[in-house]
Amino acid sequence: MSDLTLMLIRIAFLCVLWLFVIMAVGVIRTDLLGPAKSKSKRSKRSEERRTSAPARPARAPRGRRNEPRSLVVTKGPLAGTSLNLTSQPIVIGRANDATLVINDDYASGRHARIFSDEGRWVVEDLGSTNGTYLGQQRLTRPQPISVGQPIRIGKTVLELRK
């Protein structure tokens, strides 16, 4: 192996190392500028596919499969948070000992409770100041809820999910 070849290999290796760093920085670019243009076209197509998806006939609910398994926050400061449902009741509020602590100016300390009653999930307002809404209706007594029904507490909206 001649010295020249070795030197070329050495320089080539360093160049490739730097190429790696440059590529890594290129990957980060999406952080600043968002996904590239060509990508957005593709995602639009997949969006179309997604919107057409619900047109498929929904499968008939089967036994346990239709039971909600998690509680997700769809709006408000905690949007994106999800809690797994267990047999334990879930207390929602601003107090530190609530199961789901929401940092929402319009929520009370212990605002509402979601619990399981013979396989059905029930939401109950715990005497909050601003009320708990199921859809547009303010809760006056415990009411059963199903998957996808929005429960609103202040600026936070929650839903049960399968």
Binding site: I9, L14, L17, F20, I28, P35, G131
Partner: protein, 478 residues
């Protein structure tokens, strides 16, 4: 009309970018081995195929695992870790296998440890679905951190290697528990700061000199965690266990996290004053600490560096107390490397004692030169930057503190090692994350990566869309 918060990461998965970068990182590792083999022995390494299949297979498995179980995580974390780990393996191969001397370590061992670490990585990502559950156990975490840090001090169990009492002997294998203690400590600090940040940020007393406000002092009772941490770092780690590296790293991370939580520089002033004041105060009384400082400040003194004459004199500094040979040889190696290095396999890093541990950085400096080690430093920096992005993008305070704490930990660990090798700070016993030889260090690095991976997955995952959109939210105001 929704305006996205500027810290929000775009909801893109970019798993294919991750795949390409990971394959690239594996290819770089193999390229490094080819270069080392050609330079040293004039032929392609015979075991190249084995390493390629094993290391490449591991990296691909990790990628596939992420694709299925954490699909929204940051696409750069895995490639960067793979590159650093792979370069470490290639360098160990060049140091041991290529020279035919595998008595002090081998690249194959490192590869096996990498496999084990990646398995733990996968387990952490898989089982820790919500890192916020760790918030529930801050004091258990604090206790386990302390126990782990103190384990090496137990007679019979602890081992002293190269002057630092950092290891425990488990019979079958040795372990460096401080590597895991630091993760537990970050969890504790994150949980603690979340509950105490308001009082630490707001309650204070102003110190005035005349009309000028000099410093905001926190109330005495709020300084308790600082005092405990300081006492622990100085008394236990520096005085009892001679482990300056871990001490610096943990205290640095602690200060960074307290600053992140409270936004107040006075904590940094107090902490740094206390730490360096204590170091100055114990200097005359703790002999092993003094030796450490002398070998740093006067590394080139003949009797510290240990020339042949000094070696012949039994009373000289290096024959009685310790020497700076490792540090000085490391600096010579870095100088030998210059800008572009001698090429992998072309240098003589074997002159540096214990080059496979923290001084592996000197070996890289000699053979890849400044251009090469800048790539490694940039990879580290990018890894830390991604961690900080995760902290910014997360919504929960605990996750913010946790992710930034882990990023600071990686950054400080790198700084402490490389600062030691380049004689910016006293030499310490820590290891560069992912690169250096050692199972504990590798394992804890991959665990930190798993935690970051899971947190980034949760932070970037788009929020579930409402199934029934019932119009604008009513807000009752009065």
């Amino acid at each position: 009309m929704t305006t996205e918060a500027p810290t929000q990461l775009p909801p893109v998965k970019r798993r294919n970018a991750e795949l390409v970068m990971t394959v690239f990182a594996v290819a770089l590792t193999l390229f490094a081995m080819v270069e080392a083999g050609l330079t040293r022995n004039g032929e392609m390494p015979a075991s190249l195929f084995v390493y390629g299949v094993l290391f490449g297979g591991l990296a691909l498995l990790a990628h596939l695992f992420i694709r299925f179980f954490a699909p929204w995580s940051d696409p750069l974390l895995l490639p960067l870790a793979t590159l650093l780990n792979g370069l470490g393996i290639a360098m160990l191969w060049r140091l041991f296998e290529a020279t035919g001397d595998t008595s002090r370590g081998s690249a194959l061992d490192q590869l096996i440890l990498t496999a084990a670490s990646m398995a733990v990585f996968a387990a952490v990502v898989y089982f820790l679905k919500e890192p916020r559950t760790l918030q529930r156990y801050p004091y258990i975490m604090a206790l386990s951190a302390v126990v782990l840090l103190l384990l090496p001090a137990i007679p019979g169990l602890g081992m002293t290697v190269n002057g630092a009492r950092q290891w425990i002997n488990l019979g079958v294998t040795t372990l460096q528990p401080s590597e895991f203690a630091k993760i537990a400590l970050v969890i504790f600090l994150a949980g603690y700061m979340v509950s105490k940040r308001d009082v630490m940020a707001l309650a204070s007393r102003q110190i005035k000199v005349g009309p000028v406000k000099v410093l905001d002092l926190p109330r005495a009772r709020d300084t308790a965690p600082m005092a405990v941490m300081w006492g622990f770092c100085i008394i236990v780690l520096v005085i009892l266990m001679n482990d300056l590296g871990t001490s610096l790293m943990l205290f640095g991370t602690f200060l960074a996290m307290i600053y992140v939580a409270t936004h107040r520089a006075n904590w940094l002033v107090i902490g740094l004053t206390a730490f360096f004041g204590a170091c100055a105060a114990i200097y005359p009384f703790v002999p092993h600490f003094r030796v450490r400082m002398v070998t740093w400040l006067e590394a080139f003194r003949p009797d510290v560096y240990c020339t042949d004459e000094a070696m012949a004199n039994p009373d000289s500094f290096c024959n009685t107390l310790g020497n700076s040979q490792q540090l000085v040889q490391g600096l010579f190696a870095l100088a030998e490397g210059g800008m572009t290095g001698t090429g992998l396999g072309g240098g003589k890093p074997g002159y540096v004692p214990e080059v496979q541990n923290d001084f592996i950085f000197a070996a890289f400096g000699e053979e890849l030169g400044l251009a090469g080690i800048m790539v490694m430093l940039l990879s580290m920096a990018l890894l830390v930057e991604r961690g900080m992005r995760i902290a910014l993008a997360s919504k929960e305070l605990f996750i913010k503190m946790f992710a930034s704490g882990i990023s600071f930990l990686i950054a400080f660990q790198t700084f402490v090692v490389i600062g030691g090798v380049t004689r910016v700070i006293p030499m310490t016993g820590a290891t560069i994350p992912f690169v250096a030889k050692g199972g504990s260090a590798l394992l804890s690095s991959w665990i930190m990566l798993a935690l970051l991976m899971r947190m980034s997955n949760n932070a970037r995952k788009p929020a579930p869309q409402a199934i029934q959109d019932e119009g604008a939210t009513q807000v009752i105001s009065r």
